[in-house]
């Protein structure tokens, strides 16, 4: 039993180090897409992943990479599960993950909205600090960007465009 617990901790540590294929400054643990990692009585490692967005094209690669690293680490039987519920929330990005995003010029998300989704037609005010100069005089240029999870913003102070992880 104790060995299994230690083993599970080690397996989790290995899976947690896998970089996200689209934002490689983050690990899957930083991004909050790595859920449970368990080791069964027979030594099978079961790692659960959850997609950020339904259309996330990187899921297959994440699965393959986690399985490959665990196999390389000596686990003979590895099983990867997809978990859809509860759905991923940007709130699950860890404090370390947020710091790494900012360090790489991507503004981390604010708190995710909760409850029924209201349509707001007046401009939505968010305070997003520029990850380069720290100014809060920023504006959104597009709700959507190079990956599903980000929006495009620009800083009026330093005039740099930057990406912003949307809160969902």
């Amino acid at each position: 039993m104790v060995t299994t617990l230690l083993d599970a901790r080690r397996a989790r540590h290995i899976a947690a180090q896998v970089p996200d294929p689209e934002m490689p400054m983050l690990t899957l643990a930083d991004l909050g897409v790595l859920r449970e990692v368990e080791v069964g009585e027979d030594g099978t490692v079961v790692a659960s992943l959850t997609p950020t967005y339904s259309g996330c094209p990187a899921m297959a690669e994440m699965r393959a990479e986690v399985a490959a690293r665990l196999t390389d680490a000596g686990y003979a039987r590895v099983e990867i599960r997809t978990v859809l519920t509860p759905p991923w929330s940007s709130d699950w990005i860890t404090p370390a993950g947020r710091a790494k995003l900012a360090e790489h010029g991507i503004a981390p998300p604010g708190a995710a909205p909760r409850g029924p989704v209201k349509l707001t037609l007046s401009p939505i005010r968010r305070t997003v600090a520029c990850p380069r100069c720290g100014a809060t005089d920023t504006e959104e240029t597009s709700h959507f960007a190079a990956t599903s999870c980000k929006a495009l913003w620009r800083c009026r102070a330093c005039r740099e465009p930057f990406e912003y992880v949307k809160e969902i």
């Binding site: 967005y53 599960r81 519920t85 029924p116």
Partner: protein, 278 residues
């Protein structure tokens, strides 16, 4: 650590790189490892058909959105429309995968997407109409995303199938962004120039006859969705038009002449090379 290093790190340690950068065939199973069991007492034929219909709505919409690539008024809008299409394609994959599990055939997403003719598709007809101008596409997106959002919010808590409920709950977050995007553009265009307002009025008139069809099976959300649409048209200085519905129903396989050519294009590569993986 520079950004270059971060991205270069992805290329390391990949001698057997089969699983990388390959998102075509051979990558089926977006429900990999999800508990497949169906709750007792479920009408599996009905559940499979419903998943398929919701998947068809999303696939056909995604294809229309993708057709805006290289044709949108601005690069940002092209990125936005493609992103929305990608979300819908992701929902399609999950829904098709669930349909294949539930209907007992074990068919994968590609079988449903590429190897069915127009008669077998069950999407609502509004999704298949040609893109028209930007105002028409925005108005259609506003209607479809408002409807699907209301539907998914309901499904997430009412369906007895835990997989469909999870797919719906996940979709809600995405659809909220789609609706927000479309609503903002509808207001901007309706409240814009004389020309943009004329185009919005034409778009509303063209879309309205296909709205009744959306509520054939879920009448209870009609008032809720129409309230959202009126909120937008009010803010845009437009009126939601009353229109006689077009007879027929896409859910019965009754489609416009526009679906078959859309599918021909969508399916051409997979049908020309049915055994190919890439």
């Amino acid at each position: 650590m520079s950004d270059d290093h971060v991205y270069l790190s992805l290329a390391e340690g990949h001698d057997d790189s089969d699983a990388r950068w390959a998102f075509g065939t051979g990558f089926e199973d977006p429900l990999h490892g999800v508990d497949q069991s169906v709750p007792e007492g479920t009408d599996t034929a009905q559940l499979a058909a419903y998943c398929l219909a919701l998947g068809d709505d999303a696939l056909v919409s995604a294809q229309r959105l993708a057709q805006w690539c290289t044709a949108a008024p601005e690069l940002e809008e092209e990125v936005a429309l493609a992103n929305i299409g990608l979300d819908l394609l992701g929902q399609t994959r999950l829904l098709y995968a669930r349909a294949g599990q539930v209907d007992g055939t074990g068919r994968g997403e590609d079988a449903y997407a590429y190897f069915r003719g127009a008669d077998a598709f069950r999407n609502v007809r509004l999704a298949e109409l040609p893109n028209g101008d930007f105002a028409f596409s925005i108005t259609r997106l506003l209607v479809l995303s408002s409807w699907r959002l209301a539907l998914f919010e309901r499904l997430a808590v009412t369906t007895s199938d835990p997989v469909l409920a999870a797919i719906a709950a996940k979709g809600v977050k995405e659809l909220a962004y789609h609706r927000q995007y479309a609503a903002e553009w509808a207001v901007r265009l309706g409240d814009g120039t004389e020309e943009s307002q004329r185009r919005m009025r034409d778009a509303l008139a063209a879309v309205a006859p296909y709205v009744d069809e959306l509520f054939a099976e879920t009448g209870e959300s009609k008032a809720e969705v129409l309230a959202v649409l009126r909120q937008v048209t009010d803010a845009a200085g437009l009126a939601w038009p009353e229109a006689a519905p077009v007879p027929g129903h896409g859910r019965d396989g009754d489609h416009t002449e526009h679906l078959a050519p859309l599918l021909t294009e969508l399916q051409s590569v997979a049908r020309a090379h049915p055994e190919a993986t890439w």
